[in-house]
């Protein structure tokens, strides 16, 4: 597949350079909300939505910044966009599902500082993707994040019933599973190349 074809861009962000398991971005919510599938799936959806919004806004903003020759404002501008998108998600979830809002807790507003989203916006700028390519890229990144989160949640739920030694309880076990999952994802290296 050609490296700039839409299919490859999606596959690249989804599996080959999975944001969590290959680039190790966004580990905070990955550890925080992957304990239950019930929270993992909505979290994945929320991050995907924020990524889509951030990606389309970042594309327009970058045009403006380049036009006025003020690229040094890129980081701040992107963070502002992401923060407002997160506000939107937060308000919606709070209104429609207070239970889910409480379950996600601090991790919902923390999407603002999720480096996977900022990373995605910066990558698409540096890779000089067109608008459609950026959207596909962010969709792939969001889908990859959700996949990692849900796979992880499945395994952690299984572990809830296991007799894990004290030293490995909780985050330690989660980090080891994440490492093993990352090892398994190495198999996708070079796919479609």
């Amino acid at each position: 597949m050609a490296p700039d074809s839409l299919g490859f861009i999606f596959l690249n962000a989804f599996l080959i350079n999975n944001f969590v398991l290959a680039l190790f971005l966004g580990l905070c919510p990955f550890m925080g909300v992957s304990g239950k599938i019930k929270t993992a799936a909505p979290m994945g959806a929320a991050v995907t939505f924020v990524m889509l919004v951030a990606s389309s806004c970042a594309f327009g903003i970058n045009r403006l910044l380049v036009r006025f020759d003020i690229e040094y404002l890129r980081l701040i501008a992107y963070i502002a966009v992401i923060a407002s998108a997160v506000q939107l998600v937060e308000m919606t979830i709070k209104k429609f599902s207070p239970t889910l809002f409480r379950m996600l807790g601090i991790f919902l507003p923390l999407i603002t500082t999720n480096c996977a989203i900022l990373g995605m916006a910066l990558f698409q700028t540096f890779l000089e993707y067109s608008f459609i390519q950026s959207l596909v890229y962010s969709l792939g990144a969001g889908a990859g994040f959700s996949l990692a989160l849900i796979l992880m949640a499945g395994m952690r739920e299984k572990l809830d019933l296991a007799n894990v030694p004290d030293a490995c309880m909780g985050t330690a076990a989660a980090l080891m599973i994440a490492g093993l999952l990352s090892l398994a994802f190495m198999g996708f290296a070079g796919l479609g190349g």
Binding site: E157, P165, L183, G187
Partner: protein
């Protein structure tokens, strides 16, 4: 005087304990090990012995450290050790094999609470770790049936700990004077479009990992396990069937570029993986429908990675990913509770 023994129900029970199951898997693995030693000689024997001893020892030490009774009597560490040795290249340095075995058992299994709690197959965790840490030795292959294999080690086997493996080129010239390209049938197919005779693949006279070459022998051992009802026959059928069908479709589309389905079945580790690794009871889903999905997922991923990935062998990664998806699959395929109309949200019952 005859005595009557009284005990409470159930009066009929199935004497199939974990220990019995694991022992039968070891019996089924022994012919494969024997072939491996016959084919690659002293180095394969050393690899098998070292991996098994280290796996059992690590499990014993972990149990001691966790303050619980040692679980080495259930034979599962022996299986892990044998399988790990069988999927490593025959000339793999022993010290690296020790590292892989310790990692596989400790991080892959014991740190999660031992047998039944591990999320992935420990032998494959060890191999994946070795593949990531020692890429070059993991892709250094030696010729099969080398002369003098029962009296001398492959030079790289006896590398001192923490040193890079000794070069085997001098040794290669003595055992294979007419040239050995250092490629497995899969690599030959992928990079040079050279197919290997399927009969050679079936009878295991090609180069490759220590125990993956003899396809037919592995299949026979698998049939033994399936007949004894120790292994779920759905998994190998699903894995091999889906791999066969998918690679058949590609072969039919472009026979020049893609390998034949028979080649896919018998080349590389697909047979060993489908029969002995994907069937690991811990890492596979509990439901029948889930088992089919799991098996087909592994078969499809294997073919996709082999044909379109950067690597020429994808069985290990496919099985690890299948293991990772297994809890999710069994959750999604819970059968409807008898008597209920449309199941509402169910609680997870099984582990």
């Amino acid at each position: 005087m005859s005595t009557v023994k009284l005990h409470t129900s159930p009066h009929l029970h199935q004497p199939l304990t974990v220990e019995v199951i694991m022992r039968h898997v070891v019996y089924a693995l022994l012919p494969v090990c024997a072939w491996s030693v016959y084919q690659f000689g002293l180095s394969a024997l050393a690899l098998l012995a070292v991996c098994t001893v280290v796996c059992v020892g690590t499990e014993h030490l972990c149990c001691k450290w966790m303050g619980q009774a040692s679980t080495v009597n259930d034979w599962s560490a022996v299986i892990t050790g044998l399988l790990l040795a069988l999927v490593l290249p025959p000339g793999f340095p022993l010290w690296m094999a020790v590292v892989a075995a310790v990692f596989g058992i400790a991080v892959g299994k014991m740190f999660f609470g031992g047998l039944g709690a591990n999320v992935m197959n420990p032998a494959l965790v060890g191999r994946a770790f070795a593949q990531a840490a020692f890429t070059l030795p993991m892709t250094t292959w030696v010729p099969s049936m080398a002369p003098g294999r029962f009296t001398t080690f492959i030079p790289s086997t006896l590398t001192p700990p923490f040193l890079v493996p000794r070069s085997i080129s001098g040794w290669l010239e003595t055992v294979a004077p007419d040239g050995f390209t250092g490629a497995t049938p899969l690599a030959l197919m992928k990079y040079e479009q050279v197919s290997t005779d399927p009969t050679a693949l079936m009878f295991g006279t090609v180069s490759g990992s220590a125990g993956e070459t003899a396809g037919l022998l592995i299949l026979l051992c698998g049939i033994y396990l399936a007949v004894r009802k120790i292994m779920d026959w759905r998994i190998p059928i699903g894995v091999l069937g889906s791999a066969f069908v998918l690679s058949g479709i590609f072969y039919w589309l472009d026979a020049e570029r893609y390998p034949s389905p028979w080649f896919t079945l018998f080349a590389g580790g697909l047979m060993l993986g489908a029969v002995f690794m994907a069937t690991d009871m811990v890492g596979s889903p509990e439901t029948k429908r889930g088992t089919w999905i799991y098996a087909i997922l592994i078969g499809v991923l294997t073919v996709v990675i082999r044909l379109f990935g950067g690597l020429n062998e994808g069985v290990m990664y496919a099985i690890l990913l299948g293991n990772a998806a297994a809890p999710l699959i069994s959750r999604l395929t819970q059968p409807r509770v008898y008597g209920t109309v449309k199941s509402a949200r169910k609680k997870k019952v099984t582990a």
